[in-house]
């Protein structure tokens, strides 16, 4: 027999059983019993009061990514829950585990349009891995146990548990069993050895192999195995946006990022490789460009845990339906040591062109306004790839991804699939809760920071150390770039008047500095890192700078342009 307690205490006890020690959230009417019981466990669970529920969701996601635990956030019924939705969709599409607990109006009122009632289960069904509404206190422990198990296993995702207020107030006998058996859910597929043999044969015979490194390598905690694999077969590694940092940027086999604003060589070579080994990635349209002309010459091997991703966008020759770590463990012994030096050199030749035509101008310009790439380059140099870079979305994101050099896994936190502006600041806040021994940089545009700027309040209250870098071009830069390139410079609704960010930071007790001249930039960055706690560095950058190279919409990867 379990211990008698009320539903809201069972929520807390369940979270304690899952070793939860941090929660991001915001209280309100329906969820008050949970908060009331949380008060008794403040020594074990630290609740971080955000300024808006969207901030809680993004912070929770980032917390999950850097802590390796399942992040938890709370929201109340109605608007509390709807405000979480962007963050839920964002984490789900980027396969990040998260358990979201929302409170609901008392069960007799469900369906009556009661005050602060909203159909949370209905609203979040298409954007969660699983969700459930609890109306009976006795169901709480099992639902939470299932939530943690489902969120983190297989291809991770978000689970929403919506609990009615009466279920929170009613008594139950508390018993908790972790990872309960779910008959219809078996998240780790058994290895099909025939597919492994077929993959090994293709790889061993390949003259021009190319590995596409995806987020699955990080999620599967397979970075070391991945490195062993590519080193043994000597295969160039190109990464997706979310795969970045799984493999050191400085490694001789690393050839850069794939996709629309990725590097020149890996995009061009995608259409020259004879064998492509896609590992834990999903051939997103931003990676593939025009599907009809994507790697038609190559035999494609796809290692992927989610069966519905296999043959979804790209038809593959060998599908290895498995978790990356399991697949590579099975594959590695069958891979022959190999060398592909002339093939690798071909990448170097193209890289030299990109350096000359794009990178030098962007990262080490000698005249003109400060450039976004230049700021990233300096941040990277000064932290020696030791920092965690959190970006917002748009030009700042592409510049960050392109020019920061990553040396440690999970060092880039960014909104990939959903492309959520406003993600950066709360996500960096979530990272800074966990990461204390490395600098946490929030690299944001002037548009993105203003979408969730209220979280400066949370950063202040929690004494967090976030190095906030705002690259200000008074434009929504990426949209403006498209208007520049495809709409004859008709800048519709992209010019933005920005406030005095330094004054705003000051209001939150955060030191800041604004830089307009190149000569001051390096010293200002030094000052930022030398300052204890958070810091806001605003850098006025070239207003009409564009991100290149680019695969224009509808173009093939091999049609990537440098200017």
């Amino acid at each position: 027999m379990g211990i008698k307690m009320r539903g809201s205490m069972a929520v807390i006890q369940s979270l304690l059983a899952e070793h939860v020690d941090t929660i991001f959230g915001y209280p309100g009417g329906a969820i008050m019993p949970i908060y009331d019981d949380l008060l008794q466990h403040e020594d074990k669970i630290h609740h971080i009061l955000v300024r808006h529920e969207q901030g809680a969701a993004h912070a929770t996601q980032a917390y999950s990514q850097v802590s390796g635990k399942v992040g938890v956030c709370f929201g109340t019924s109605g608007p509390g829950a709807t405000n979480l939705i962007t963050g839920i969709a964002n984490a789900q599409i980027d396969s990040v585990p998260m358990v979201v607990i929302t409170a609901q109006v008392p069960s007799p009122l469900i369906g009556t349009d009661a005050f602060q009632e909203t159909d949370v289960v209905g609203l979040t069904m298409p954007i969660t891995k699983w969700n459930v509404q609890i109306t009976d206190a006795e169901d709480i422990p099992e639902a939470i146990a299932k939530a943690f198990y489902i969120a983190v296993s297989g291809r991770p995702g978000v689970v929403v548990i919506d609990i009615t207020k009466d279920a929170l107030l009613n008594q139950l006998e508390f018993e908790y069993e972790k990872a309960p058996k779910i008959r219809s859910y078996f998240p780790y597929p058994a290895i099909n050895m025939q597919s492994i043999d077929a993959a090994a044969e293709l790889i061993n015979k390949s003259k021009k192999p190319l590995v596409l490194l995806g987020h699955g390598v990080l999620i599967g905690k397979a970075e070391n195995l991945f490195r062993e694999f590519v080193e043994k077969a000597e295969i160039p590694v190109a990464s997706t946006l979310l795969g970045l940092s799984a493999f050191p940027s400085s490694h001789k086999l690393f050839v850069g990022m794939l996709g629309m604003h990725g590097n020149y060589a890996p995009n061009i070579k995608t259409n020259e490789a004879d064998v492509i080994i896609a590992i834990g990635m999903r051939f997103d349209d931003r990676v593939t460009g025009r599907i009809a002309d994507y790697a038609r010459q190559a035999k494609i091997i796809h290692i992927e845990i989610d069966k519905s991703e296999i043959n979804k966008n790209i038809e593959v020759n060998v599908a290895v339906h498995a978790d990356v770590k399991t697949a590579l463990t099975a594959l590695l012994p069958k891979i022959q040591a190999n060398a592909h030096s002339s093939w690798l050199n071909e990448f170097k030749e193209l890289e030299a062109i990109e350096i000359e035509k794009v990178i030098k101008k962007e990262c080490t310009p000698e005249s003109g306004k400060i450039r976004q790439g230049e700021v990233v380059h300096l941040l990277s140099e000064k932290t020696k790839g030791h920092a965690i870079l959190v970006t917002d979305v748009g030009q700042n994101q592409m510049m960050g991804a392109r020019y920061f050099k990553f040396e440690n896994p999970n060092s880039l936190i960014t909104s990939g699939g959903l492309g959520t502006m406003g993600f950066g600041l709360p996500a960096a806040m979530g990272v800074s809760v966990v990461v204390k021994d490395r600098p946490v940089i929030a690299f944001l545009g002037d548009g993105g920071i203003q979408m969730t700027i209220q979280e400066l309040g949370t950063i202040m209250q929690e004494n967090l150390a976030v190095k906030i870098v705002v690259v200000n071009n008074n434009f929504l830069g990426m949209v403006r770039q498209w208007q520049d390139m495809f709409m004859s410079k008709r800048y519709a609704a992209t010019h933005m008047v920005t406030p005095d960010f330094i004054k705003i930071a000051e209001g939150y007790n955060i030191k800041g500095r604004k830089v307009e001249k190149r000569e001051e930039l390096s010293a200002a960055i030094d000052e930022m890192f030398a300052t204890e706690g958070s810091f806001l560095l605003e850098v006025m950058v070239e207003k009409e700078g564009n991100v290149f190279p680019m695969i224009t919409p509808g173009a093939s990867v091999s049609e990537i342009v440098l200017e």
Binding site: M125, K181, S184, F186, P187, Y188, P189, I310, K325
Partner: protein
């Protein structure tokens, strides 16, 4: 790519909201479901959905794998017309006034293997089970007599293949055991890869 009619059969747990989860997979791809039925299967607690739609081979493959991805779905598969045995049931409420001086309706019932479910003062109710074309044909023949109401169920279908739900459940049980072992290995509870390799 050529479109054709497919029958999807899904086995699920019995949970609230599952119909919604299933239908989201179709609506987000802008696919129109022709018919859907759901009921408990031969195994207690396992529900069987039969869904009919017209689409392409590529779409149906993607839809089925996204259905299988749903946590509460045990198995989803698709079949072509010739791979299933299927029926629909139709009910016809016919105005008695039109029947007074004729044995035509009686003939229609007899020749179409239909049956009369109810005879009331003002109307009779006829039931016919068959393919959609057959129940439609009877509808058209009854129409001159005055069809007051007509209703047709969604398709129910059985597969011709010899593999049955119980053997799928056994496979699922095995897959679950393997999955648990891989999970334990991934959680560093064991170094032994032999048990899942």
């Amino acid at each position: 790519m050529e479109k054709q009619q497919y029958t999807i059969i899904i086995f699920t747990e019995n949970h609230i909201g599952l119909l919604n989860r299933v239908s989201i997979v179709f609506t987000r791809r802008h696919l129109n479901i022709d018919s859907i039925t759901a009921s408990e299967s031969e195994v207690k607690g396992v529900y069987r959905y039969t869904i009919v739609l017209v689409t392409t081979q590529k779409q149906i493959e993607k839809v089925v794998s996204q259905l299988e991805k749903l946590v509460e779905v045990l198995r989803a598969s698709y079949y072509l017309e010739e791979e299933v045995i299927h029926q629909e049931i139709a009910l016809y409420k016919v105005d008695s006034a039109g029947l007074a001086n004729s044995n035509e309706v009686e003939k229609l019932v007899r020749y179409n293997n239909a049956r009369i479910l109810a005879i009331e003062k003002d109307y009779i109710v006829i039931e016919k089970t068959g393919y959609k074309a057959e129940t439609q044909e009877l509808f058209e023949k009854l129409e001159p007599f005055g069809v007051l109401q007509f209703v047709r169920s969604g398709r129910v279908a059985l597969t011709k293949q010899r593999k049955e739900l119980t053997s799928y459940l056994k496979e699922i049980e095995k897959a679950s055991e393997k999955s648990d072992k891989i999970r334990e290995w991934k959680l560093n509870k064991t170094d032994d890869t032999a048990m899942w390799l």
